[in-house]
Amino acid sequence: MDDLDRLLAETMHRAVDSAPSEAGLLHTVHDRAHRYRRRRIVTRLSAVALVVAVGVPAAAVIATRPDPAVVPPSSPATATADRRVTLVDGWTAPTFPYTLPAKDGMTAPIASVDGGKPIAFFEATELRHHADVTVTVSGSRPTFTTSATEQPMRVRGKTGTFRTVDVSPAKQLTLYWRESSTRWIQLATDDTYTPEQVVSLADSLSPASIRVLPPFDLDRSPAGLVADSVTASRMTFRTPSSAPGRAGFRTVLREQRQLTGVNRKVNGDDAVLTRRADRVTLAVDVTYWEATLEVTVDDGLTISDSDLLRYAEGVTILNRSNPE
Protein backbone atom coordinates (compact mmCIF):
# COMPACT_ATOMS: atom_id res chain seq x y z
CA MET A 1 0.00 0.00 0.00
CA ASP A 2 1.59 3.29 -1.06
CA ASP A 3 0.96 6.79 0.24
CA LEU A 4 -1.95 7.39 -2.03
CA ASP A 5 -3.62 4.14 -0.96
CA ARG A 6 -3.08 5.01 2.69
CA LEU A 7 -4.44 8.52 2.21
CA LEU A 8 -7.45 7.12 0.41
CA ALA A 9 -8.23 4.62 3.17
CA GLU A 10 -7.69 7.27 5.81
CA THR A 11 -9.95 9.71 3.96
CA MET A 12 -12.78 7.21 3.80
CA HIS A 13 -12.50 6.15 7.42
CA ARG A 14 -12.38 9.75 8.62
CA ALA A 15 -15.28 10.75 6.38
CA VAL A 16 -17.72 8.55 8.26
CA ASP A 17 -17.80 11.17 11.00
CA SER A 18 -20.01 13.13 8.62
CA ALA A 19 -22.28 10.18 7.84
CA PRO A 20 -25.97 10.61 8.68
CA SER A 21 -27.18 9.54 12.08
CA GLU A 22 -29.08 6.29 12.50
CA ALA A 23 -31.63 8.02 14.73
CA GLY A 24 -35.06 7.44 13.26
CA LEU A 25 -33.77 5.00 10.66
CA LEU A 26 -35.92 2.09 11.81
CA HIS A 27 -39.05 4.20 11.91
CA THR A 28 -38.41 5.56 8.43
CA VAL A 29 -37.68 2.10 7.07
CA HIS A 30 -40.93 0.75 8.52
CA ASP A 31 -42.83 3.68 7.03
CA ARG A 32 -41.34 3.05 3.65
CA ALA A 33 -41.93 -0.70 3.88
CA HIS A 34 -45.58 -0.06 4.71
CA ARG A 35 -45.86 2.29 1.76
CA TYR A 36 -44.47 -0.41 -0.53
CA ARG A 37 -46.89 -2.89 0.95
CA ARG A 38 -49.78 -0.61 0.10
CA ARG A 39 -48.44 -0.14 -3.39
CA ARG A 40 -47.96 -3.89 -3.75
CA ILE A 41 -51.48 -4.60 -2.66
CA VAL A 42 -53.07 -2.11 -4.98
CA THR A 43 -51.22 -3.37 -7.96
CA ARG A 44 -48.66 -6.10 -8.17
CA LEU A 45 -46.84 -5.58 -11.43
CA SER A 46 -43.58 -6.89 -12.69
CA ALA A 47 -41.83 -3.61 -12.09
CA VAL A 48 -41.58 -4.28 -8.38
CA ALA A 49 -38.59 -6.55 -8.96
CA LEU A 50 -36.46 -3.41 -9.38
CA VAL A 51 -32.84 -3.34 -8.44
CA VAL A 52 -32.85 -5.32 -5.26
CA ALA A 53 -33.84 -8.88 -6.05
CA VAL A 54 -35.50 -10.05 -2.88
CA GLY A 55 -37.49 -12.93 -4.16
CA VAL A 56 -40.26 -11.09 -5.87
CA PRO A 57 -41.73 -12.95 -8.80
CA ALA A 58 -41.20 -10.83 -11.87
CA ALA A 59 -42.91 -11.85 -15.05
CA ALA A 60 -42.66 -9.32 -17.82
CA VAL A 61 -45.05 -10.24 -20.54
CA ILE A 62 -46.02 -8.64 -23.79
CA ALA A 63 -49.48 -9.03 -25.16
CA THR A 64 -50.07 -8.67 -28.83
CA ARG A 65 -53.81 -8.66 -29.06
CA PRO A 66 -56.79 -7.62 -27.01
CA ASP A 67 -57.58 -9.87 -24.11
CA PRO A 68 -61.14 -11.11 -24.06
CA ALA A 69 -60.88 -11.69 -20.32
CA VAL A 70 -61.10 -7.98 -19.65
CA VAL A 71 -64.62 -6.80 -19.28
CA PRO A 72 -64.52 -3.30 -20.76
CA PRO A 73 -66.32 -0.28 -19.39
CA SER A 74 -69.99 -0.42 -20.05
CA SER A 75 -70.07 2.87 -21.91
CA PRO A 76 -71.56 2.71 -25.39
CA ALA A 77 -69.17 2.57 -28.31
CA THR A 78 -69.61 6.06 -29.65
CA ALA A 79 -66.09 7.01 -30.63
CA THR A 80 -66.63 8.86 -33.86
CA ALA A 81 -64.85 8.30 -37.16
CA ASP A 82 -62.43 11.18 -36.65
CA ARG A 83 -61.54 9.54 -33.34
CA ARG A 84 -62.78 12.48 -31.36
CA VAL A 85 -63.40 11.35 -27.82
CA THR A 86 -66.70 12.16 -26.20
CA LEU A 87 -67.68 11.54 -22.61
CA VAL A 88 -70.32 9.41 -20.99
CA ASP A 89 -71.41 9.43 -17.38
CA GLY A 90 -69.74 7.01 -14.99
CA TRP A 91 -67.36 4.15 -15.48
CA THR A 92 -67.57 0.43 -14.93
CA ALA A 93 -64.50 -1.34 -13.63
CA PRO A 94 -63.08 -4.33 -15.52
CA THR A 95 -63.00 -7.65 -13.72
CA PHE A 96 -60.52 -10.46 -13.20
CA PRO A 97 -62.05 -13.81 -14.16
CA TYR A 98 -60.47 -16.25 -11.63
CA THR A 99 -59.73 -16.68 -7.98
CA LEU A 100 -57.88 -19.06 -5.70
CA PRO A 101 -59.62 -20.78 -2.78
CA ALA A 102 -59.56 -18.65 0.37
CA LYS A 103 -57.06 -19.88 2.95
CA ASP A 104 -55.29 -18.69 6.07
CA GLY A 105 -52.07 -16.86 5.36
CA MET A 106 -53.26 -15.45 2.04
CA THR A 107 -55.29 -12.33 1.39
CA ALA A 108 -58.24 -12.03 -0.93
CA PRO A 109 -57.15 -11.12 -4.46
CA ILE A 110 -56.51 -7.56 -5.55
CA ALA A 111 -57.11 -7.08 -9.25
CA SER A 112 -55.55 -4.62 -11.66
CA VAL A 113 -55.06 -4.29 -15.40
CA ASP A 114 -51.76 -3.65 -17.08
CA GLY A 115 -51.38 -3.23 -20.81
CA GLY A 116 -54.74 -4.88 -21.37
CA LYS A 117 -53.90 -7.88 -19.20
CA PRO A 118 -55.95 -8.43 -16.06
CA ILE A 119 -53.82 -9.34 -13.06
CA ALA A 120 -54.77 -10.67 -9.65
CA PHE A 121 -52.40 -10.44 -6.72
CA PHE A 122 -52.79 -12.72 -3.73
CA GLU A 123 -50.61 -11.45 -0.93
CA ALA A 124 -49.13 -13.86 1.57
CA THR A 125 -49.55 -12.71 5.16
CA GLU A 126 -47.72 -15.75 6.55
CA LEU A 127 -44.40 -16.05 4.79
CA ARG A 128 -43.10 -19.40 6.00
CA HIS A 129 -45.67 -21.52 4.27
CA HIS A 130 -47.05 -19.09 1.73
CA ALA A 131 -45.72 -16.70 -0.86
CA ASP A 132 -47.26 -13.97 -2.94
CA VAL A 133 -49.03 -15.29 -5.99
CA THR A 134 -49.69 -13.25 -9.09
CA VAL A 135 -52.04 -14.57 -11.75
CA THR A 136 -52.06 -12.88 -15.15
CA VAL A 137 -54.49 -13.51 -17.98
CA SER A 138 -53.56 -12.58 -21.53
CA GLY A 139 -54.73 -13.16 -25.05
CA SER A 140 -51.38 -14.43 -26.26
CA ARG A 141 -48.54 -16.62 -25.11
CA PRO A 142 -46.47 -14.85 -22.44
CA THR A 143 -42.98 -13.81 -23.36
CA PHE A 144 -40.15 -13.24 -20.89
CA THR A 145 -37.04 -11.15 -20.78
CA THR A 146 -35.17 -13.11 -18.13
CA SER A 147 -33.41 -16.38 -18.80
CA ALA A 148 -34.76 -19.39 -16.93
CA THR A 149 -34.85 -23.13 -16.91
CA GLU A 150 -38.08 -24.46 -18.38
CA GLN A 151 -39.82 -27.77 -18.19
CA PRO A 152 -43.19 -29.02 -19.40
CA MET A 153 -45.75 -29.56 -16.68
CA ARG A 154 -49.30 -30.92 -16.78
CA VAL A 155 -51.76 -28.35 -15.45
CA ARG A 156 -55.56 -28.22 -15.61
CA GLY A 157 -55.52 -31.04 -18.13
CA LYS A 158 -53.21 -29.15 -20.45
CA THR A 159 -49.50 -29.01 -21.08
CA GLY A 160 -47.99 -25.97 -19.44
CA THR A 161 -44.48 -24.63 -19.04
CA PHE A 162 -42.79 -24.31 -15.69
CA ARG A 163 -40.07 -21.64 -15.51
CA THR A 164 -37.51 -21.26 -12.76
CA VAL A 165 -35.41 -18.11 -12.48
CA ASP A 166 -32.55 -18.78 -10.10
CA VAL A 167 -32.13 -15.63 -8.02
CA SER A 168 -31.50 -15.02 -4.34
CA PRO A 169 -32.98 -15.18 -1.84
CA ALA A 170 -35.84 -17.02 -3.49
CA LYS A 171 -36.16 -18.60 -6.91
CA GLN A 172 -38.92 -17.15 -9.05
CA LEU A 173 -41.36 -19.74 -10.30
CA THR A 174 -43.78 -19.17 -13.13
CA LEU A 175 -46.22 -21.64 -14.58
CA TYR A 176 -48.08 -20.72 -17.74
CA TRP A 177 -50.44 -22.55 -20.01
CA ARG A 178 -53.02 -22.06 -22.72
CA GLU A 179 -56.35 -22.14 -20.95
CA SER A 180 -58.43 -21.81 -24.12
CA SER A 181 -58.01 -20.83 -27.75
CA THR A 182 -58.10 -17.15 -26.78
CA ARG A 183 -56.68 -17.18 -23.29
CA TRP A 184 -53.32 -17.81 -21.65
CA ILE A 185 -52.81 -17.83 -17.90
CA GLN A 186 -49.59 -17.46 -15.98
CA LEU A 187 -49.14 -17.96 -12.26
CA ALA A 188 -46.02 -16.48 -10.67
CA THR A 189 -44.73 -17.09 -7.17
CA ASP A 190 -41.47 -18.13 -5.50
CA ASP A 191 -39.87 -21.29 -4.21
CA THR A 192 -41.67 -21.15 -0.92
CA TYR A 193 -43.86 -23.52 -2.90
CA THR A 194 -42.69 -26.72 -4.55
CA PRO A 195 -43.40 -27.19 -8.27
CA GLU A 196 -46.16 -29.62 -7.32
CA GLN A 197 -47.75 -27.04 -5.04
CA VAL A 198 -47.59 -24.46 -7.84
CA VAL A 199 -49.43 -26.85 -10.12
CA SER A 200 -51.93 -27.49 -7.35
CA LEU A 201 -52.49 -23.75 -7.00
CA ALA A 202 -53.10 -23.45 -10.73
CA ASP A 203 -55.47 -26.41 -10.66
CA SER A 204 -57.45 -24.75 -7.90
CA LEU A 205 -58.18 -21.57 -9.89
CA SER A 206 -61.92 -21.19 -10.28
CA PRO A 207 -64.11 -18.79 -12.27
CA ALA A 208 -64.84 -15.53 -10.49
CA SER A 209 -65.45 -11.89 -11.15
CA ILE A 210 -62.98 -9.85 -9.12
CA ARG A 211 -63.55 -6.16 -9.64
CA VAL A 212 -60.46 -4.13 -10.46
CA LEU A 213 -59.90 -1.41 -7.87
CA PRO A 214 -59.22 1.90 -9.60
CA PRO A 215 -57.12 4.72 -8.11
CA PHE A 216 -59.78 7.28 -9.06
CA ASP A 217 -63.53 7.59 -9.19
CA LEU A 218 -64.63 8.89 -12.57
CA ASP A 219 -67.80 10.92 -12.91
CA ARG A 220 -67.29 10.73 -16.66
CA SER A 221 -65.29 8.40 -18.87
CA PRO A 222 -64.24 8.32 -22.53
CA ALA A 223 -67.01 6.77 -24.59
CA GLY A 224 -66.21 3.70 -26.63
CA LEU A 225 -62.75 3.16 -25.21
CA VAL A 226 -61.68 0.13 -23.20
CA ALA A 227 -59.55 0.11 -20.07
CA ASP A 228 -55.95 -0.69 -20.89
CA SER A 229 -54.27 -0.15 -17.52
CA VAL A 230 -55.73 0.39 -14.08
CA THR A 231 -53.03 0.56 -11.44
CA ALA A 232 -52.32 2.52 -8.27
CA SER A 233 -51.37 5.61 -10.21
CA ARG A 234 -52.99 5.41 -13.62
CA MET A 235 -56.11 4.66 -15.59
CA THR A 236 -55.59 4.44 -19.32
CA PHE A 237 -57.93 3.73 -22.17
CA ARG A 238 -57.51 2.67 -25.79
CA THR A 239 -59.74 2.11 -28.73
CA PRO A 240 -60.93 -1.52 -28.99
CA SER A 241 -58.92 -1.93 -32.19
CA SER A 242 -55.64 -0.68 -30.71
CA ALA A 243 -53.05 -3.12 -29.46
CA PRO A 244 -52.91 -3.55 -25.67
CA GLY A 245 -50.46 -1.11 -24.17
CA ARG A 246 -51.23 1.58 -26.76
CA ALA A 247 -53.52 3.75 -24.74
CA GLY A 248 -54.30 7.12 -26.27
CA PHE A 249 -56.28 8.41 -23.28
CA ARG A 250 -54.27 8.40 -20.07
CA THR A 251 -54.90 9.71 -16.58
CA VAL A 252 -51.81 9.53 -14.39
CA LEU A 253 -51.24 10.67 -10.82
CA ARG A 254 -47.66 11.80 -10.43
CA GLU A 255 -45.64 13.11 -7.54
CA GLN A 256 -46.16 16.84 -7.33
CA ARG A 257 -44.17 18.98 -9.68
CA GLN A 258 -44.08 22.70 -10.32
CA LEU A 259 -46.50 23.84 -12.99
CA THR A 260 -45.49 26.70 -15.23
CA GLY A 261 -47.79 28.74 -17.42
CA VAL A 262 -50.97 28.11 -15.46
CA ASN A 263 -53.88 28.82 -17.79
CA ARG A 264 -56.83 26.90 -16.35
CA LYS A 265 -58.53 26.04 -13.07
CA VAL A 266 -59.88 22.58 -12.28
CA ASN A 267 -62.04 22.41 -9.18
CA GLY A 268 -60.18 25.46 -7.91
CA ASP A 269 -56.72 23.98 -8.49
CA ASP A 270 -54.17 25.46 -10.87
CA ALA A 271 -53.90 23.64 -14.18
CA VAL A 272 -52.00 23.87 -17.43
CA LEU A 273 -53.62 22.85 -20.68
CA THR A 274 -51.09 22.28 -23.44
CA ARG A 275 -52.21 21.52 -26.94
CA ARG A 276 -49.91 20.36 -29.71
CA ALA A 277 -50.65 19.03 -33.16
CA ASP A 278 -51.03 15.43 -32.05
CA ARG A 279 -51.41 15.64 -28.30
CA VAL A 280 -53.25 17.52 -25.62
CA THR A 281 -52.26 17.42 -21.98
CA LEU A 282 -53.96 18.80 -18.93
CA ALA A 283 -51.83 18.90 -15.78
CA VAL A 284 -53.59 19.73 -12.53
CA ASP A 285 -51.81 20.69 -9.33
CA VAL A 286 -53.87 18.72 -6.80
CA THR A 287 -52.76 20.61 -3.73
CA TYR A 288 -54.50 18.56 -1.06
CA TRP A 289 -52.83 15.41 -2.42
CA GLU A 290 -49.47 17.03 -3.03
CA ALA A 291 -49.62 15.45 -6.45
CA THR A 292 -50.04 16.35 -10.09
CA LEU A 293 -52.88 14.79 -12.04
CA GLU A 294 -52.05 14.54 -15.70
CA VAL A 295 -54.55 13.73 -18.43
CA THR A 296 -53.12 13.12 -21.89
CA VAL A 297 -54.94 12.41 -25.13
CA ASP A 298 -52.91 11.37 -28.16
CA ASP A 299 -52.24 8.40 -30.45
CA GLY A 300 -54.82 9.57 -32.97
CA LEU A 301 -57.46 10.50 -30.40
CA THR A 302 -58.66 14.07 -29.99
CA ILE A 303 -60.82 15.82 -27.42
CA SER A 304 -62.18 19.33 -27.03
CA ASP A 305 -60.80 21.59 -24.33
CA SER A 306 -64.16 21.75 -22.62
CA ASP A 307 -64.58 17.96 -22.53
CA LEU A 308 -61.04 17.53 -21.25
CA LEU A 309 -61.74 19.97 -18.43
CA ARG A 310 -65.08 18.31 -17.68
CA TYR A 311 -63.36 14.93 -17.51
CA ALA A 312 -60.67 16.21 -15.13
CA GLU A 313 -63.28 17.87 -12.92
CA GLY A 314 -64.94 14.49 -12.51
CA VAL A 315 -61.81 12.68 -11.33
CA THR A 316 -61.80 11.95 -7.59
CA ILE A 317 -58.51 10.66 -6.27
CA LEU A 318 -59.01 7.77 -3.87
CA ASN A 319 -56.97 6.87 -0.81
CA ARG A 320 -55.72 3.69 -2.42
CA SER A 321 -53.95 5.68 -5.14
CA ASN A 322 -50.21 6.13 -5.06
CA PRO A 323 -48.48 8.78 -7.19
CA GLU A 324 -45.72 7.58 -9.48
Binding site: D3, T11, A19, P20, T28, V52, V54, G55, E126
Partner: protein, 177 residues
Protein backbone atom coordinates in the same frame (compact mmCIF):
# COMPACT_ATOMS: atom_id res chain seq x y z
CA UNK B 1 -50.46 -23.25 11.42
CA UNK B 2 -52.81 -21.42 13.75
CA UNK B 3 -53.36 -17.72 13.72
CA UNK B 4 -51.46 -17.31 17.00
CA UNK B 5 -48.49 -19.21 15.63
CA UNK B 6 -48.55 -17.04 12.54
CA UNK B 7 -48.54 -13.97 14.69
CA UNK B 8 -45.60 -15.30 16.68
CA UNK B 9 -43.65 -15.97 13.52
CA UNK B 10 -44.35 -12.49 12.23
CA UNK B 11 -43.44 -11.00 15.55
CA UNK B 12 -40.13 -12.87 15.63
CA UNK B 13 -39.42 -11.81 12.08
CA UNK B 14 -40.09 -8.18 13.00
CA UNK B 15 -37.85 -8.36 16.06
CA UNK B 16 -35.01 -9.88 14.05
CA UNK B 17 -35.26 -7.18 11.46
CA UNK B 18 -35.50 -4.41 14.03
CA UNK B 19 -32.51 -5.81 15.91
CA UNK B 20 -30.49 -5.83 12.71
CA UNK B 21 -31.37 -2.23 11.89
CA UNK B 22 -30.61 -1.13 15.45
CA UNK B 23 -27.35 -3.01 15.51
CA UNK B 24 -26.04 -2.41 12.03
CA UNK B 25 -27.90 0.67 10.82
CA UNK B 26 -25.08 3.04 11.71
CA UNK B 27 -22.49 0.92 9.92
CA UNK B 28 -24.69 0.67 6.85
CA UNK B 29 -25.24 4.43 6.78
CA UNK B 30 -21.52 5.02 7.08
CA UNK B 31 -20.83 2.60 4.27
CA UNK B 32 -23.47 4.21 2.06
CA UNK B 33 -22.09 7.64 2.88
CA UNK B 34 -18.55 6.73 1.90
CA UNK B 35 -19.92 5.11 -1.21
CA UNK B 36 -22.11 7.99 -2.31
CA UNK B 37 -20.39 10.99 -0.73
CA UNK B 38 -23.79 12.48 0.01
CA UNK B 39 -25.54 12.23 3.38
CA UNK B 40 -29.05 12.54 1.98
CA UNK B 41 -28.42 10.01 -0.72
CA UNK B 42 -26.84 7.63 1.77
CA UNK B 43 -29.95 7.78 3.93
CA UNK B 44 -32.18 7.28 0.95
CA UNK B 45 -30.25 4.29 -0.32
CA UNK B 46 -30.14 2.54 3.05
CA UNK B 47 -33.81 3.20 3.73
CA UNK B 48 -34.76 1.98 0.28
CA UNK B 49 -32.77 -1.23 0.52
CA UNK B 50 -33.94 -2.07 4.03
CA UNK B 51 -37.56 -1.29 3.25
CA UNK B 52 -37.50 -3.62 0.26
CA UNK B 53 -35.84 -6.37 2.29
CA UNK B 54 -38.07 -6.01 5.32
CA UNK B 55 -40.72 -8.39 4.15
CA UNK B 56 -38.26 -11.06 3.06
CA UNK B 57 -36.03 -10.86 6.08
CA UNK B 58 -36.48 -14.51 7.03
CA UNK B 59 -35.16 -15.51 3.64
CA UNK B 60 -32.22 -13.19 3.84
CA UNK B 61 -31.16 -14.21 7.33
CA UNK B 62 -31.48 -17.83 6.30
CA UNK B 63 -28.59 -17.22 3.90
CA UNK B 64 -26.31 -16.55 6.90
CA UNK B 65 -24.77 -13.53 5.21
CA UNK B 66 -27.45 -10.97 5.86
CA UNK B 67 -25.17 -7.99 6.20
CA UNK B 68 -23.14 -8.90 3.14
CA UNK B 69 -26.37 -9.26 1.21
CA UNK B 70 -27.58 -5.86 2.40
CA UNK B 71 -24.25 -4.22 1.53
CA UNK B 72 -24.36 -5.73 -1.93
CA UNK B 73 -27.84 -4.36 -2.38
CA UNK B 74 -26.64 -0.96 -1.21
CA UNK B 75 -23.87 -0.94 -3.80
CA UNK B 76 -26.27 -1.96 -6.54
CA UNK B 77 -28.79 0.60 -5.46
CA UNK B 78 -26.07 3.24 -5.52
CA UNK B 79 -24.95 2.21 -9.00
CA UNK B 80 -28.53 2.16 -10.19
CA UNK B 81 -29.34 5.51 -8.63
CA UNK B 82 -26.36 7.10 -10.23
CA UNK B 83 -27.20 5.49 -13.53
CA UNK B 84 -30.66 7.01 -13.52
CA UNK B 85 -29.12 10.38 -12.86
CA UNK B 86 -26.10 10.07 -15.11
CA UNK B 87 -26.56 13.56 -16.46
CA UNK B 88 -25.75 14.88 -12.99
CA UNK B 89 -22.56 12.90 -12.72
CA UNK B 90 -19.79 15.23 -11.65
CA UNK B 91 -16.66 15.83 -13.59
CA UNK B 92 -13.41 15.43 -11.74
CA UNK B 93 -13.58 17.86 -8.87
CA UNK B 94 -11.68 21.07 -9.09
CA UNK B 95 -9.05 20.89 -6.37
CA UNK B 96 -8.03 24.16 -4.69
CA UNK B 97 -4.35 25.06 -4.47
CA UNK B 98 -2.57 24.02 -1.27
CA UNK B 99 -1.05 26.87 0.72
CA UNK B 100 2.16 25.50 2.19
CA UNK B 101 0.62 24.41 5.45
CA UNK B 102 2.39 22.61 8.23
CA UNK B 103 2.13 18.86 8.48
CA UNK B 104 -1.14 18.17 10.34
CA UNK B 105 -3.04 20.80 8.40
CA UNK B 106 -1.47 19.54 5.22
CA UNK B 107 -2.77 16.09 5.98
CA UNK B 108 -6.25 17.43 6.65
CA UNK B 109 -6.15 19.34 3.39
CA UNK B 110 -4.90 16.27 1.56
CA UNK B 111 -7.89 14.29 2.84
CA UNK B 112 -10.23 17.07 1.77
CA UNK B 113 -8.69 16.98 -1.69
CA UNK B 114 -9.01 13.24 -1.79
CA UNK B 115 -12.68 13.40 -0.81
CA UNK B 116 -13.33 15.87 -3.60
CA UNK B 117 -11.56 13.67 -6.09
CA UNK B 118 -13.59 10.68 -4.97
CA UNK B 119 -16.76 12.67 -5.55
CA UNK B 120 -15.71 13.29 -9.12
CA UNK B 121 -15.01 9.68 -10.01
CA UNK B 122 -17.39 7.65 -12.15
CA UNK B 123 -19.67 5.57 -9.93
CA UNK B 124 -18.15 2.21 -10.76
CA UNK B 125 -14.61 3.38 -10.06
CA UNK B 126 -15.69 4.91 -6.78
CA UNK B 127 -17.47 1.72 -5.75
CA UNK B 128 -14.35 -0.33 -6.45
CA UNK B 129 -12.18 1.98 -4.38
CA UNK B 130 -14.62 2.01 -1.47
CA UNK B 131 -14.89 -1.78 -1.45
CA UNK B 132 -11.13 -2.11 -1.61
CA UNK B 133 -10.01 0.64 0.80
CA UNK B 134 -12.98 1.04 3.13
CA UNK B 135 -14.26 -2.52 3.27
CA UNK B 136 -10.85 -4.13 2.70
CA UNK B 137 -12.33 -6.63 0.27
CA UNK B 138 -10.02 -8.55 -2.04
CA UNK B 139 -10.50 -8.05 -5.78
CA UNK B 140 -12.16 -11.40 -6.33
CA UNK B 141 -14.87 -10.58 -3.77
CA UNK B 142 -15.32 -7.13 -5.26
CA UNK B 143 -15.73 -8.70 -8.66
CA UNK B 144 -18.37 -11.09 -7.35
CA UNK B 145 -20.21 -8.31 -5.58
CA UNK B 146 -20.25 -6.06 -8.64
CA UNK B 147 -20.95 -8.89 -11.04
CA UNK B 148 -17.88 -8.26 -13.16
CA UNK B 149 -14.48 -9.86 -13.72
CA UNK B 150 -11.45 -9.39 -11.53
CA UNK B 151 -9.62 -7.78 -14.44
CA UNK B 152 -12.36 -5.16 -14.62
CA UNK B 153 -11.98 -4.46 -10.91
CA UNK B 154 -8.23 -4.06 -11.29
CA UNK B 155 -8.52 -1.81 -14.34
CA UNK B 156 -11.20 0.36 -12.69
CA UNK B 157 -9.08 0.77 -9.58
CA UNK B 158 -5.92 1.40 -11.56
CA UNK B 159 -7.60 4.01 -13.72
CA UNK B 160 -9.09 5.80 -10.72
CA UNK B 161 -5.86 5.81 -8.75
CA UNK B 162 -3.84 7.00 -11.71
CA UNK B 163 -6.26 9.81 -12.26
CA UNK B 164 -6.16 10.83 -8.63
CA UNK B 165 -2.41 10.59 -8.48
CA UNK B 166 -2.08 12.84 -11.52
CA UNK B 167 -4.42 15.50 -10.21
CA UNK B 168 -2.88 15.50 -6.73
CA UNK B 169 0.59 15.74 -8.23
CA UNK B 170 -0.42 18.63 -10.49
CA UNK B 171 -1.84 20.43 -7.47
CA UNK B 172 1.21 19.72 -5.35
CA UNK B 173 -0.71 17.62 -2.87
CA UNK B 174 0.54 14.25 -1.69
CA UNK B 175 -0.29 11.79 0.98
CA UNK B 176 2.89 12.21 2.96
CA UNK B 177 2.75 13.67 6.31
Amino acid sequence: MTTNESTDVRSGHAEDFDDFVHGRGRALLRFAYVLSGDAYLAEDIVQEVLARMHRHWDRITAMHHAEAYVRTAIVRQFLSWRRRRASREAILADVPEPAGLDEPQHRVLARAHMWQLLAGLPRAQRAVLVLRFYCDLPDDEIATLLGCGESTVRSQASRALARMRTVLSEKGVDGNG
